[in-house]
Amino acid sequence: MPADHQALVPTEDLKQHLAGLEPERRLTDWGRSERVEGLLDRTATEFFYRYWFRAEVEGIENVPAAGGALLVANHSGALPPDAAMIAKAIREEHPNPRPLNITVEHFFKGYPGFSMLIPKIGGVPAHPANVQRLLYDEEQLVLVFPEGRKATEKLYKDRYRLRRFGRGGFVEAAMRARAPIVPVCVVGAEEAAPVFAQVGLMKRLTGLLYFPITPTFPHLGLLGMLGYLPAKFKIRFLEPVSFDENGLNRDKGLVQTLAHDIRARIQEELWDMLGKRRSVWFG
């Protein structure tokens, strides 16, 4: 009964019914807090971006200045610093700095502490409906790591080798929202937070996603998770991929092909960036 009635209300109309801004509020409807985010941005992120990783950015003009866009990047590290650095790069370098929504595993919503902090700094559970709302209805920037957990679990010896790009869900999401995909390559994150081993038993005992052994974790405690090595960061935004035709997403085969193409492009660019890199620490 609901389905055919609901179909009568076109989605185009719903955009105009989004809730208005309440200027007195400090949080968005997603739970994002400008205050917490700003504080972190001025302290830890600023330090890591400018002095620790000395991030270099290329192709920032490929990030659209308006409208929704889906950023797709490679992923790595125990407590990955790449997402925060991409967000900071857009804030620092882009002529129209826009907030970036970072999709995170549902796990974080269920783990005490993370559950409170992650939404405040721009993390959004990686649910297709969330991505759709952000891209299409709110016309925001969204960052996804299609490799997902497989990327952060991988060990140092497998660095810069992209895992499978999920089931192409990110392509479908962008098509449905008619938003362009901007591929992003990050070099340096693998060396900043190398994972030498994974301890399955500890993972089960702590209920965490994984329990890695890194240069500083677990022997330096929880803060050791943030003990990044000072690798040189390079972030390259590639040319956007757009889909204009409606209903492209009906074709699963096309989705898979596109997902594969985007993965190949990121991988190639990564090899290119690594080939030109003279030193892990100085670029």
């Binding site: 209300v9 409807d29 269920g110």
Partner: protein, 524 residues
């Protein structure tokens, strides 16, 4: 379809009573029948109360006898702290089934069913979307008895809608309600001196104001909005934000692990956290409220305003508590007020027309008399009665003529509809489609020339900007001024100047105009 004869179930619940009160204000709703196993908790003016629970055979008799066209089911229990889970199940699942049974059937007069549901339908889980929309299912089967009940009740509603396609079925899923009058477990929690939270969690919460709940139900009765709709105010707040708005400390009283045990301990000291609320305190929930807005509903409060209002009420409550006598239903008194021939208001109401409508009817009849070409001469002195009689007769004759004209028009419309449907069928056959033919719209002839038996607001004479303006006393005009647009006010101002020129009225209009609009909207 316009609902005229409404049955409200659960009249004794807060929502049933509030809705009945709200519907009483609309003259086009001619009958409001409330059913409940217990007596109403609020004072009602013209709603009739029938003491019957959810026995479908009895309900069916009530529905048929009163020719109910709209049934609003407000009795769903959505807070498991209010009753035992067995009773909740009986009410939510079996009760809903029985009420639907009473509405269905080929000869049922019911055309519309409105069901009050809850966003507990979606549950609260780790892998929920941030905003549930009406098409989404919950990612996991329900975990708590109350959620199971709600899902089951809604399932029977959807089945009912499929079986009765000609009926308009509206399901409204309400978010957590806050307000000064309603009592829920969440309000109890928010009125504690500190706001307990689960350590390390800051769930997202969306609320809806109690008045918006009543208006949303009312909207579904007055408009045709078939389908499922979320009803939740704009703005999703973090619980820490709620604590800030209430100016209460946010205290991690509950541990993230072993929360159930801690809840049991809290229950000992009088803080009852039902299981569905515990899930919400951990994961929170947001819903997409845009569909009901697209269906024409407007919220009066945002989530933030709702919480602020509650905070104000909570600070005021210890001071004003007990100032008002609670209402008690007295059957004899209510029946006397409704049915005694000695109650003047009731007799007027018995004719189904208000005073204004009677005035309007007289005017209308006079108009008909004139069109019928009968000069109603007002004879001096004693002949006045005869003249009036003559006029009435003329009016009757005119009305009869008008009726004939209406019947003719109806016939013509029916013929036209038949022709149209024949043509359509031919077109369909040509196109090779096998779609069912759209029923020849029954509403059409009714929308034709208005039947003269019904009072119809005629154009006010001599360009008065308000209906019956000349009948109004100065105080009444001043009370009305607040609800008018600036443009209308200007017209009223000029009219008043030229005619009665009452200083008080002109002053009131000018002061509202000087403030640049309607004062009702200026209120924060």
């Amino acid at each position: 379809m316009h609902s005229k004869r409404v049955l409200v179930t659960g009249l004794s619940t807060y929502w049933g009573g509030r809705l009945a009160q709200a519907l009483e204000a609309f003259p086009e709703v001619e009958a409001i029948i409330g059913v409940a196993a217990d007596e109403p908790q609020v004072e009602l003016e013209r709603t009739e109360y029938v003491k019957v629970g959810a026995q479908h055979a009895l309900l069916r008799r009530v529905v048929e006898a009163a020719e109910i066209d709209t049934v609003v089911d407000t009795r769903l229990v959505v807070d498991s702290a209010t009753t035992s889970s067995a009773k909740a199940h009986e009410n939510n699942v079996i009760g809903t089934m029985n009420i639907l049974a009473a509405c269905s059937g080929a000869d049922s007069p019911v055309r519309k069913v409105v069901f009050k549901s809850s966003t507990h339908f979606y549950g609260c889980e780790q892998d929920d979307p941030a905003f549930f929309d009406e098409t989404m299912d919950r990612p996991h089967p329900p975990r708590t008895p109350i959620e199971r009940d709600i899902v089951e009740a809604e399932t029977s509603l959807s089945e009912f809608a499929v079986r009765n396609r000609e009926m308009s079925v509206t399901i409204l899923r309400f978010a957590n309600v806050l307000g000064p009058d309603v009592r829920t477990s969440h309000i109890k929690l928010l009125s504690l001196p500190v706001l307990p939270m689960i350590l390390g969690f800051d769930p997202r919460y969306q609320f809806v104001h109690e008045d918006d709940v009543v208006h949303a139900l009312e909207h579904a009765v007055r408009q045709d909005v078939p389908g499922v709709f979320n009803v939740a105010a704009d703005g999703v707040l973090a619980l820490s934000e709620v604590a800030g708005l209430l100016r209460k400390p946010y205290v991690p009283l509950l541990p993230p692990w072993g929360t159930g045990l801690a809840t049991a301990a809290l229950r000992r000291i009088g803080v009852d956290i039902p299981p569905e609320m515990l899930a919400q305190l951990r994961f929170g929930r947001g819903v997409d409220n845009r569909r009901y807005k697209a269906a024409g509903f407007r919220y009066q409060h945002t989530s933030r305003e709702t919480v602020l209002g509650l905070g104000e009420h909570l600070r005021l409550e210890p001071i004003v508590r007990g100032a008002q006598e609670p209402y008690r239903y007295e059957r004899e008194v209510e029946e006397f007020l409704r049915w005694s021939p000695h109650v003047r208001q009731a007799r007027e109401r018995g004719s189904g027309l208000s005073r204004d409508q009677v005035v309007e009817l007289q005017r209308l009849l006079a108009g008909y008399a004139e069109t019928a070409g009968i000069e109603a001469e007002v004879a001096p002195g004693g002949d006045r009665l005869a003249a009036a009689e003559e006029r009435a007769l003329a009016a009757e004759r005119a009305a009869a003529e008008a009726m004939e004209r209406v019947a003719e028009a109806e016939q013509r419309a029916a013929e036209a509809a038949a022709r149209a449907s024949r043509a359509e069928r031919r077109a369909d056959a040509a196109a090779g489609r096998s779609e069912p033919e759209p029923e020849p719209s029954e509403a059409q002839p009714e929308q034709g020339p208005a039947s003269p038996a019904e009072p119809r607001p005629a154009a006010p004479p001599s360009g008065a900007p308000l209906d019956h303006y000349d009948d109004l006393a100065a105080e009444e005009v001043i009370a009305l001024v607040a609800s008018l647009d600036p443009a209308d006010l200007q017209v009223l101002h000029d009219y008043e100047r030229r005619h009665a020129n009452r200083a008080g009225v002109i002053g009131a209009i000018e002061s509202v105009l000087a403030r640049g609009g309607t004062p009702a909207l200026d209120r924060p």
